[in-house]
Each structure stands twice: as structure tokens, then as C-alpha cells.
């Protein structure tokens, strides 16, 4: 009888391992044994993580890095005790985050994305390890959303946080339903590394700190050496201030400065005019990035004696006017204000409030006087006095609702958010400002972008970020009507800034 020989498949790592000299083989074996001892997760997850490290070793060695140096770069000390301790921490939501799980539904979830475009294609095997090392420094991100009796909260989730290759639309819904589902994702596509966060976790500032740490770790693993100035040290111990509800502390300080705090101050207003396109099923249905010459933008703003944000706001208001058929009504732009400028805080949680820049359609004109009006309104509405009023009002609402059971709150809050929160604005502009990385890393980075996710009734939302000499203004569209971006493009061209435009195909049914 003929006996069949079962062929044993050898993985590329095993092939590499068997090809090593005896002492190198021992080194690798000791490393993997120690790795296993530091990952006390369920077997499948531990095996998957070990496999991640094997792939990273293989990649580094195949690119000519000596084995010893590869293992040093992938040092197990970078894991800390994160994967070997049971999850015990939990985090209550900050005041601003409390609304997000209450108002989300199958079609709408507050997600935003920040991306870094590298000068070379992303190496997923290395990015995975960078994430494995980085996540432990951000304990409030390594969590899953849970329901309490009164509020949602974040429960620590010890698991393998995996990267994903990009297949969906930007800022696609996250599935946070299951036990230990993650509330953020790290995505890569060609030369782009993106992090998408559910707003419950953090705001733009916190997300940027994470993204910078992740990119720094990624480049370090690839052999780039830097002082890491301005970047969170992933091997430092997290501090309590980084996970604090900064609204609470700030409202105590602000309380003495407000004469008569009003409920709903700055939160309620009359509905704003919306752009005229039909709302798409898929949201956002299209994303555009206007890459602008940062110096030119700054020069134009300086020439008109306004800030860059005021200049861009004026362009958005004018483009908004072109995108609506309404002849009356107000166009209102929501502008998030980073509260850290008024109340310094190291929190990675949300610490933003917003103001509304509102003009009647008839008053919106493409001239220098209008630009001055925008600038004036922005400086008035984003002043510390206005923000204190809103802070106190937000705090008041949270306190008034704190003893109402979650099941009741979710019905009321969901309705109010849909009815009030979105309709009082026509569009949004979130400007994260100028991002700086140490020069050793900047050499490898082309640009960055910042994208906002879907809204309920607004047809577009805009976000801006500047890296190097590129200011990227990203537009998330909720309609297939191209009037808004066409008008905006024409406005920039008429100002002498020719944007190079990138984006996604229109996705809708």
C-alpha cells in the first residue's frame, strides 16, 4: 500500500528561524518565550500577537537590520505590564462625551479621523507593533463602551488592538456593541496612516497626541532616531490628569467669573439654512482634501489683518451661500474651541466647546468688510467670557440629568440632539492648527489631514490641519451636490491660491 506523506507547511518565520545560527536561534527562542510570558491574554489573542512580532522580526531582518538590533527595537520592555495585568480601570465620560452614545444610531455616529501621509508606503507589520506598544500609554483609549444605570462609561479592555487596511469610507461607523469592542481604529492605505476615533474617547488634541506617538514609534521601529521632543513618551506612566474630566475643574474656576449662568446658553438657537442638495444614504458620501500653500494662506490672512481661521470661515460662508437656493435665513458655522487655551490641561479626553458664526444670507459678500465682520464675530464668540457661559450651561445640563436613568435619557437626548444640535448650524469648521514633529521625523512625512464624520442634516463639515507648508482643508460631504466644493475652489483660485484637490469617489445608492 502506498503511504501518503503529509507535507508539513513551514511558515516564512519558521523557515527564517531554522536558517539561523545556533546562538541566534537561542536568542530568538528566548525572546519569544519572554514575549509569551508577558502576554497573559486568551490563547488565540496571545498567538496572534506573537505572530505579529514574528512578522516584524522577519521584516526587519529581511531589510538588512541585524537580528540583535531587530530584537532591541522590538524590546519586550515596550509592552510594560499592559498585557500581563487584568483590566481594573474604568473611566467616566467627560461632559461633552456623554451626549455621543446617547445620540448615536445605526446611521449616525460621531467619528473623526486624522491621517499622516508618509513619503514611503506603510509597512503594516511594523505599524501593528507600533500600535501594540503605543496603546498602553493611552489607557482611556484601550477601553470599550459600557452602559451604566445613569451614564455610559469606558471599561478597560485588555486585548490585541489590531490595525486594518482601508476598505470602507472614511469615518465609517464603528461596531462598539460587543464585549471589548474597540472605540477607535488604526487604518493604513498606501502611504497613509489614519486613526479614527469615536468622539466619546477624545477630541482633536488628544487624537493628535496619540497619532504623533504612534508615528514616532513606527518610525523608531524603522530605525529613525529622534529626541522625541513634543511627543508623548510611550514608556512613561500615564497620569491621572490625562484622563480627567477637565470641564469639571474648569467650571469650578469659571463659576466665580460668570454673573448669571443661563441654562442652554450658546446651545440653543434658531435653525440655520442648510445647503440644498439631497442627503445621501452613505455618510459621508464623499471626502475632499484641498491642499493649500500654508504660506500663501497666512499671507492673505495677514494682509487683511485677520486670522487664518477667520479667512477660511469667510470662504466657507460665501461657498455655503452659493450652495443653497434659500434667499433668506442665516448661514451658521459651528467652530469648536479648544478650552485648553483658557484652562491649561493635559487631558486626552474631550475638552472643547464651540461657538456659532452666524450671518444672514444677504450680508454674506466676497469683500474685505465682510472678512472683518467674520473676524470680529469670531473673536467675540470665542472669548473666554462666552466660553465660560457655555461651560457653565453644559455643566448645568449634565448635573440636571445625572440622576435620570440612562434608558430615559437616551430617548430624550437622542431627540434633542437630532432636533437642536445639528439644525442650528449649516456647516462646521474645526481647525486643529499647525502640527509640528521633530525634524528627524518630519523628513519622512509628506502632510497630514483631518476629516470629520457624518452629521444629521448638515450637507458638509470641514476640518483643517497644517503640517509643513501644506494646509489641508478637508470637506466631508453628505450630499452628491457639488456646488459647495466648486464654489470654494473658485474662491481660493480667485484669491491666488490654487488648491491641489484629492478625495474619494462619490459613494451613494
Amino acid at each position: 500500500m502506498k503511504k501518503k506523506n503529509k507535507e508539513v507547511e513551514i511558515s516564512p518565520f519558521e523557515e527564517f528561524y531554522f536558517s539561523l545560527e545556533n546562538d541566534e536561534g537561542i536568542l530568538v527562542k528566548e525572546y519569544l518565550d519572554s514575549l509569551r510570558a508577558h502576554i497573559l491574554l486568551p490563547k488565540e489573542e496571545r498567538d496572534e500577537m506573537v505572530h505579529d512580532f514574528e512578522k516584524a522580526i522577519l521584516f526587519l531582518c529581511n531589510t538588512g537590520v541585524p537580528l540583535k538590533e531587530s530584537l532591541e527595537r522590538l524590546a519586550i520592555s515596550n509592552l510594560g505590564g499592559f498585557y500581563s495585568r487584568p483590566p481594573v480601570n474604568w473611566f467616566s465620560l467627560d461632559d461633552s462625551a456623554k451626549i455621543y452614545p446617547l445620540s448615536m444610531d445605526a446611521e449616525q455616529m460621531a467619528i473623526f479621523r486624522q491621517s499622516v501621509y508618509l513619503k514611503a508606503d506603510v509597512v503594516p507589520d511594523i505599524l501593528q507593533i507600533a500600535l501594540t506598544f503605543t496603546i498602553k500609554r493611552f489607557p482611556s483609549f484601550a477601553t470599550t463602551v459600557k452602559k451604566g444605570f445613569f451614564w455610559h462609561y469606558l471599561d478597560t479592555s485588555k486585548r490585541r488592538y489590531g490595525i486594518e487596511s482601508e476598505t470602507g469610507i472614511p469615518c465609517m461607523q464603528l461596531n462598539i456593541a460587543y464585549s471589548s469592542s474597540q472605540t477607535f481604529r488604526v487604518i493604513w492605505y498606501k502611504n497613509r496612516i489614519s486613526v479614527e476615533f469615536f468622539h466619546i474617547l477624545t477630541d482633536g488634541t488628544g487624537a493628535l497626541a496619540f497619532l504623533k506617538a504612534l508615528i514616532a514609534q513606527y518610525l523608531t521601529l524603522l530605525g529613525v532616531k529622534s529626541s522625541n521632543e513634543g511627543i508623548v513618551d510611550i514608556n512613561e506612566r500615564p497620569e491621572a490628569e490625562e484622563v480627567e474630566n477637565a470641564y469639571s475643574r474648569a467650571s469650578h474656576i469659571a463659576k466665580n467669573e460668570i454673573e448669571k449662568p443661563k441654562m442652554f446658553s450658546g446651545i440653543m438657537d434658531k435653525p440655520a439654512t442648510q445647503m440644498s442638495g439631497k442627503l445621501s444614504f452613505m455618510r459621508p458620501c464623499q471626502v475632499f482634501h484641498f491642499n493649500l500653500d500654508a504660506k500663501k494662506v497666512k499671507d492673505i490672512a495677514k494682509l487683511n489683518k485677520v486670522t487664518v481661521t477667520s479667512y477660511i470661515l469667510s470662504r466657507l460662508l460665501i461657498a455655503g451661500k452659493s450652495a443653497t437656493d434659500d434667499l433668506e435665513g442665516d448661514i451658521s458655522l459651528q467652530v469648536p474651541i479648544n478650552m485648553r487655551q483658557f484652562y491649561p490641561s493635559r487631558t486626552f479626553k474631550n475638552f472643547v466647546l464651540y461657538c456659532g458664526i452666524r450671518f444672514p444670507i444677504g450680508e454674506i459678500r466676497n469683500d474685505a468688510i465682510f472678512l472683518q465682520k467674520v473676524s470680529k464675530q469670531l473673536s467675540e464668540k470665542s472669548s473666554i467670557e462666552e466660553m465660560n457661559r457655555m461651560l457653565s450651561s453644559t455643566r448645568g445640563i449634565v448635573k440636571a440629568m445625572q440622576y435620570v436613568p440612562l434608558s430615559l435619557k437616551s430617548k430624550v437626548a437622542g431627540f434633542c440632539y437630532g432636533f437642536l444640535g445639528d439644525r442650528i448650524f449649516s456647516n462646521m469648521l474645526s481647525n486643529i492648527g499647525v502640527v509640528r514633529m521633530p525634524p528627524e521625523y518630519s523628513k519622512y512625512i509628506d502632510k497630514m489631514d483631518f476629516v470629520l464624520g457624518s452629521t444629521i442634516t448638515n450637507r458638509a463639515s470641514c476640518a483643517m490641519i497644517t503640517f509643513g507648508n501644506t494646509t489641508t482643508l478637508s470637506i466631508s460631504k453628505q450630499t452628491s451636490d457639488p456646488s459647495f466644493e466648486d464654489a470654494l475652489y473658485a474662491l481660493f483660485c480667485s484669491d491666488g491660491i490654487i488648491p491641489s484637490v484629492e478625495g474619494s469617489k462619490l459613494n451613494d445608492i
Binding site: W90, S92, P101, M104, D105, A106, E107, V145, K146, K147, G148, F149, F150, W151, H152, Y153, D155, E166, T167, G168, I169, P170, M172, Q173, I176, A177, Y178, S179, Y189, K190, R192, N245, F281, M282, V287, F288, H289, Q402, Y403, P482, E485, D486, Y489, S500, V501, E502, G503, S504, K505, N507, D508, I509
Partner: protein, 191 residues
């Protein structure tokens, strides 16, 4: 305006699902209103209440799943509570006299099922305790309402349900020890 595409091609599966859900939602709303109007028009027993709740049960359980804490314990408890309400409505509006026996039996047996699911995978499921704790409290409140407010005779099914509730809460407390208190702190925090 021309632009360079920098995103991969996307499949429309998700938006097709959303489209289907929107159609279902409006069909359910239409069917509910039709039921109620038809019932009012032809008169008789309020069968439309039972029909509308049955439709809600299907919608809530199958077509609109929870977006947070979708796990086997929460889903079983949600099904049991929805089913018990359906039985009570049927008892009240169509054929009366049996719900006081049947509902506690269903609750007791579902507690047994949940206990098996919880203790066979305790490490994972211990973090999904809130629906179970709330269910236990709801059962105790139901017993209190039944005996104190309605002043009805004691029946064996209710006693068994009460015992099961206490038993399950005690078992959780013994198994979790100090963590049970910690779980309570998290779940009932007002911060």
C-alpha cells in the same frame, strides 16, 4: 474642479442595509398605525396592542440590535422582558387569568439559563452583569407590586422566582466578592 482619487473603491453593502432598514422602519410604523385604526374602527377587544407589541419585539430584537453591550446575557434578558410584557398584554386584553403563573415560570427558567451562560464563561461575562442585576431588581419589584399593591394571594411560581432572584444575586456576590461592589460602583456612577 478635478481631483486625484486617494481612497480605495468602496462596496455599497452598508448603505444597502441602511436602505433596507429604513424601508422596514416605515413598514412597521405603517402596519402599527393600520392595526390601531382597524381595531378602533371594528371595535371589540384591544388586540392591536398585542399586535403592535409583537411587531416592536421583532423590530427591537432582530432589526434594531443594541449598539452598546450586545452580548448573550443582555439579549436573552431583553427577549425575556419583551416576551413577558407581551404575555401580560395578552392576559389583560385577550384571555385573562394565567399570566401570574406563566410569567414567573418564564422568568425563573430564564434566570437558570442566564446563570449557566454566566458561570460557564465567567471571565468574559462578568463584565456584562448590569442587565442581569437590573432584571433581578425588576423581578423583586414585580413581586412587591404583586403582593403589596395588588394584595393578591401568594402563588408558588412567584415564590420560586423570588428565590431564584436572591440565589442568582448571592451567587454573583460570592463569585465576584469585592469586584461585585466595584461593578456596582461603575454601573451606578452618576459622574
Amino acid at each position: 474642479m478635478t481631483f486625484k482619487e486617494v481612497y480605495p473603491h468602496v462596496h455599497n453593502k452598508r448603505s444597502i442595509r441602511q436602505f433596507f432598514m429604513t424601508i422596514c422602519k416605515w413598514l412597521f410604523i405603517f402596519a402599527s398605525i393600520t392595526c390601531a385604526l382597524f381595531n378602533i374602527f371594528i371595535g371589540g377587544k384591544a388586540w392591536s396592542v398585542v399586535a403592535i407589541w409583537s411587531m416592536w419585539l421583532v423590530w427591537d430584537q432582530l432589526l434594531n440590535p443594541d449598539m452598546v453591550e450586545y452580548n448573550r446575557i443582555s439579549q436573552i434578558i431583553k427577549l425575556v422582558i419583551n416576551s413577558c410584557i407581551l404575555l401580560i398584554l395578552t392576559d389583560n386584553f385577550l384571555a385573562s387569568g394565567w399570566a401570574a403563573q406563566v410569567v414567573p415560570i418564564i422568568c425563573s427558567s430564564s434566570m437558570g439559563l442566564v446563570a449557566v451562560l454566566l458561570f460557564t464563561d465567567f471571565k468574559t461575562q462578568q463584565r456584562n452583569l448590569l442587565p442581569l442585576i437590573l432584571f433581578c431588581f425588576e423581578c423583586l419589584i414585580a413581586i412587591a407590586v404583586y403582593y403589596i399593591w395588588l394584595r393578591t394571594q401568594i402563588n408558588l411560581a412567584m415564590v420560586i422566582m423570588g428565590l431564584c432572584t436572591f440565589g442568582l444575586l448571592m451567587a454573583c456576590f460570592i463569585r465576584l466578592g469585592g469586584e461585585f461592589i466595584e461593578e456596582f460602583k461603575k454601573r451606578f456612577s452618576v459622574k
